[in-house]
Subunit: 313 residues, 2 copies
């Protein structure tokens, strides 16, 4: 049943894909086995599909940029998958809302598939799920896969790491963000975007980022800094070009670095899966043992002691 | 040896505390056992010490507010511990930098102990470590413990949950943040601060937050919205009062809700510990089996398949 669902999804059936993604979101051994049996085209070489991660603080204008990337890919006849990772509450259905308000422009276009993922409260599950959805979309033949997350914290950056090309979107208001996160951003950004570049401070931020990229000794790819103004459509073509340039670099001179990033990604996925499995097992243990849960909740059993006992069993 | 270190830390030895926190940051069974043997004063009742979480986007002015809370507590003769959770890269030593640049005002005051924690790339370890450091500082007799994190994403909110009173700091620029994160923020904020309230949009944001708090049906405590301007010191006394008010509520009418939040926190800590342990074991497994790591890295072994095999062993 679920096997047939994944087969149909991999063969391009949109309804099956939507339902398979719901299963991926819920997780579990069966889903992991099915995803493990997929043969994504991207597993050994970059570029087909192009997988682009886009992150930045709320209000930075990511959706407008995403819409432009979709429009451009559609004009070339490409099929586009979008995974929007929603950082809002796991309890109040933020992801469902996001599905409704996002990407309205493309809602009737069957060449575009948009899906949100919510976090269920822990990071491991989210990057695991994002990676599996990308593999599903890859196998289903999408040409461009966009992974959009909100924020520039550790967790958002980790989710972005399932992508081959990472675009970090900032605005003149995020000057302090850049100071705080400089090291983390430089490590992961392949393209910087300064959006809302008509606002005061944009030129300064572009300069700071360019300087930081130049001084950075850790990366062999110098991330370009693109100034965009989504409102008057300035810089959008430069953004498309910057993304394509990085993809070309991955397939050419940067192949060794691309492979190394994919390798680290596989190891991280493995560790995420193991730790998520352990968490699920422990949660099931609490459900099965009411006295254990009660002792933890009322504080008579210390969580550190309980965890040691659980893992020793 | 490490046992004596934790004893000395719990008895108020600053050097021992600093070294014990380094051990907590690194994690492991021995550390968990020692932390499990601590008897924090706060384990059964709130208020002694007061544990306050402060989160908000980079550049919101959190450090200024933290400094004011420290100053106020010091004027009452209280000892203050600060845990600053740094979201920057686990690789490039962001935490060390933060240690140096933060809290210079109090650097010579032996009644103030400031320590940063970095994330090592996964959330479970970070909230586990933050909780253990709070327990250590509690046992060591600090009167006020501040847990500062940068960001308002899922992970930052989770770290804040080790606190009894959570202060979410926003600025007029974070209007969009509020829209995106409304549900998550309402769930966790006990006090909202609109800092930089001399800037355009502040009145509007205060109004939106007040309306959201009023419409929220999930919480029995109506979080006040405090407008501050750290530059001209407006609203800082109101912030102190709002924090004390919530602490009083926890010790009085809100005791049941405080207990329930502590219970959820203990369960989450337990699950974090179990999943972090599994991750550490799997990482050690990769270190011990070079062929397993190589197969994962070069893509001949699928991470989903490898994880299933590992957990089945």
């Amino acid at each position: 049943m679920i096997h047939a669902l994944f087969d149909a999804a991999a063969n391009g059936d949109r309804k099956a894909l939507a339902r398979a993604i719901s299963r991926v979101e819920a997780g579990g051994a069966e889903v992991n086995a099915l995803c493990g049996a997929l043969t994504p085209r991207r597993s050994q070489s970059p570029g087909a599909p192009l997988v682009v991660g886009i992150t930045g603080p709320p209000g930075a204008g990511k959706s407008t940029l995403v819409n432009h990337l979709i429009r451009e890919a559609r004009s070339l006849g490409q099929r586009v998958g979008v995974v929007a990772v929603d950082p809002s509450s796991p309890f109040l259905g933020g992801a469902i809302l996001a599905d409704r308000i996002r990407m309205e422009e493309h809602s009737l276009d069957t060449g575009v598939f948009v899906r949100s993922l919510s976090s269920r409260g822990h990071l491991g599950g989210l990057s695991r799920a994002a990676g599996q959805v990308v593999d599903l979309m890859d196998t289903a033949g999408f040409d461009l896969i966009l992974v959009e997350t909100v924020g520039v914290g550790q967790s958002e950056l980790a989710v972005c790491e399932v992508a081959d090309t990472v675009v970090v979107v900032l605005t003149p208001e995020s000057g302090d963000t850049v100071q705080t996160m400089k090291a983390g951003l430089l490590e992961i950004a392949d393209v910087f975007v300064v959006n809302k570049s008509d606002r005061p401070g944009a030129v300064k931020l572009v300069g700071e980022l360019e300087e930081a990229v130049e001084l950075d000794g850790f990366r062999s790819y110098a991330a370009p800094v693109v100034a965009t103004s989504a409102r008057d459509e300035n810089g959008l073509d430069e953004l498309v070009r910057a993304v394509r340039d990085h993809a070309d670099w991955c397939a050419g001179k940067g192949l060794a670095e691309w492979r190394s990033r994919r390798s680290s990604g596989r190891v991280r996925t493995y560790l995420d899966l193991v730790s998520e499995h352990a968490r699920d097992q422990a949660r099931a243990g609490l459900d099965a043992q009411a006295d254990l849960r009660a002792a933890l909740e009322d504080g008579t059993l210390n969580p550190y002691v309980a965890a040691e006992e659980w893992v020793a069993e």
